[in-house]
């Protein structure tokens, strides 16, 4: 299986930043995704190779009106002289890779980090997906966003350019953790990128498996899309280190669960069994699954997520 990730993405992933500019604790302090992206990618994507996909291709396609952010060299000066308006030459692109960002914004994604105040899984997932979107925009690829939350699906269609990045960031910032996953039929109709090969990056806690989301991702994988899953966990979850007391499941309604140190083994066993199945099925379907703790620096996680392309 040949990866459809553009070569420039690999280069950027291979470039290991020596200093991490953004840590998770800083992530908890700001809501400004634009700022976070700039800092995360500063340690990661500096000197990204422009690639043949960027800019106009050889085959002319159409003219479109200039929007702020377009490159000046793509403006058609002869047409400017005739029409006294800025037009940009659009061309058939060499690369047809569309990047789809899938954000799980169900209630369980509100799980906070027990060591860093103000940081939760959704904030972290939002940051990683925003960085992937920003990289796609720098590469000149089309990218879109799918947010699943409270039984509903919100799709931002794939497009290119800086405006698309702002649209996607706005949608990411609006996502609120609520409810449960939508049903399989709804996800089936929303996630059908059959037309072109796509890169799909899905961020979730994958606590429901099999779930409509997992089935949709595996189905996309079978359709030869490059699907990669980011499994988000907290340090406390990994170490089974919770305060004693009663807990409830945010997605499964009634019922209480007690915790004390004697239950650490039971918890770890059940958790390992669940994620063992998740990892085994991902491997079986050739879908890379990258497990990350939200206390890790986002730059490291992003690098790890993208690097997996090289291994395949």
């Amino acid at each position: 299986m040949v990866s459809q990730l553009p070569t420039s993405w690999l280069r950027c992933a291979a470039r290991s930043g020596s200093t991490e500019l953004v840590s998770s604790s800083l992530l908890a302090q700001t809501r400004n995704l634009d700022l976070v992206i700039r800092h995360v990618l500063a340690g990661l994507g500096h000197g990204i190779h422009a690639g043949v996909e960027r800019g106009a291709g050889v085959e002319f396609s159409e003219y479109r009106a200039y929007v702020p952010g377009d490159e000046w060299r793509r403006v058609d000066w002869k047409l400017l002289a005739r029409a006294d308006r800025y037009y940009v030459r659009e061309a058939e692109r060499d690369s047809h890779v569309a990047v789809w960002l899938v954000l799980d914004a169900t209630a369980s994604m509100a799980e906070p980090s027990r060591s860093i105040d103000g940081l939760d899984k959704l904030t972290y997932a939002r940051t990683i997906l925003a960085c992937v979107g920003a990289m796609a925009q720098r590469q000149g690829d089309a990218f879109g966003l799918v947010v699943v939350s409270d039984g509903r699906i919100r799709v931002t269609p794939a497009a290119r350019g800086p405006r698309q990045l702002h649209r996607v960031l706005a949608q990411l910032e609006q996502a609120v953790p609520a409810g449960r996953l939508p049903d399989a039929a709804a996800l089936h109709s929303a996630l059908h990128f059959a037309r072109s090969p796509s890169l799909i990056v899905a961020a979730s806690d994958f606590l429901d498996w099999p779930s409509p989301l997992s089935e949709a991702l595996l189905r996309l994988r079978h359709m030869r899309h490059d699907v990669r899953a980011l499994l988000l966990q907290t340090q406390a979850e990994v170490e089974a280190d919770f305060a004693n007391g009663a807990y409830r499941d945010p997605e499964q309604g009634e019922g209480q669960f007690g915790f004390d140190p004697s239950l650490q083994g039971v918890y770890a066993a059940a958790r390992d069994a669940h994620f063992g199945v998740v990892k085994a099925q991902s491997r079986q379907h050739d879908m890379p699954l990258f497990a990350a703790r939200i206390e890790q620096a986002p730059g490291d996680v992003l690098r790890g997520l993208l690097r997996q392309a090289g291994r395949r």
Binding site: E237, G245, Q256, F257
Partner: protein, 255 residues
């Protein structure tokens, strides 16, 4: 208990239910991976803190006061009463407007002059009127006689005897009423009296007729006048005080 607002009293169950619900929720913290833990039976609720109990009582009391304020109740608390009135007071009318404040078996005695009502008042309580004859104070009225036969008319005014006396002034002044008799004198006493009485009706208000002493029997079917706002102010003050206390305590509990 006549107002429909009293049916709103079951809202008192609301704070009780809310307190119960809140304590149950306070116990369990949301945890995404709770499903990997064994289910536990909900533990017995912890002991109430005193502030919880007081807060619950305050909230119930607040709602009850609010309902009472809306229902506008009247409490029957007055017993047997003697009402002493001046000459211009309508004690029966005053009593009827506040009748709900008296206990059902209370007896009322009204002393002093009491204007006679056009119809016999219907009251739920037995009311005894002890209206002795009022102390007669002589009333002096000033008259100025103009026109013909002045001497005759002066003599007539001087002859009038009784509680009202007339003083004939030499000339019309601000405090005197003018008497102008007809050109020809009346032929008999009846005509003169008619003339004098019509002049009196024209210039002076009629003297009130004092009700004779009597006992007005209690009429259980008498309509009760709705008395608005008897306890409104007190209830409003209580409402504000309770609200302030409730907010203060809620703040204390949060800290």
């Amino acid at each position: 208990m006549t107002s429909l607002w009293w049916w709103a009293l079951p809202v008192l169950l609301l704070p009780i239910w809310w307190h119960r619900q809140r304590r149950r929720q306070e116990q369990a913290t949301p945890l995404a991976t709770a499903r990997f833990l064994p289910k536990s039976a909900p533990r017995r609720l912890r002991a109430w803190r005193w502030v919880d109990v007081v807060l619950l009582l305050l909230r119930c009391l607040l709602l009850a006061t609010l309902v009472a304020w809306l229902a506008d109740p009247v409490i029957a608390w007055r017993g047997d009463t003697v009402l002493a009135t001046g000459s211009d007071r309508d004690a029966i009318g005053w009593f009827r407007a506040r009748e709900a404040e008296w206990k059902p078996d209370a007896k009322i005695v009204v002393t002093g002059p009491q204007a006679m009502a056009a119809t016999q008042p219907r009251l739920r309580h037995q009311v005894e009127l002890r209206t002795g004859t009022p102390p007669q104070e002589p009333v002096i009225r000033h008259v100025a006689v103009v026109g013909g036969h002045a001497a005759v008319w002066r003599a007539m005014f001087a002859a009038i005897d009784g509680p009202v006396r007339y003083v004939v002034d030499a000339a019309p002044g601000p405090g005197s009423v003018t008497w102008q008799g007809p050109a020809t004198l009346p032929q008999d006493a009846a005509a003169a009296r008619a003339l004098f009485e019509s002049w009196q009706r024209l210039h002076y208000r009629p003297a009130p007729y004092v009700a004779p002493p009597q006992v007005l029997a209690a009429d259980p079917s008498a309509p009760v006048e709705h008395q608005a706002g008897a306890l409104r102010d007190q209830l409003l003050i209580a409402l504000i005080a309770l609200f302030a206390l409730e907010r203060g305590l809620a703040h204390v509990r949060k800290r």
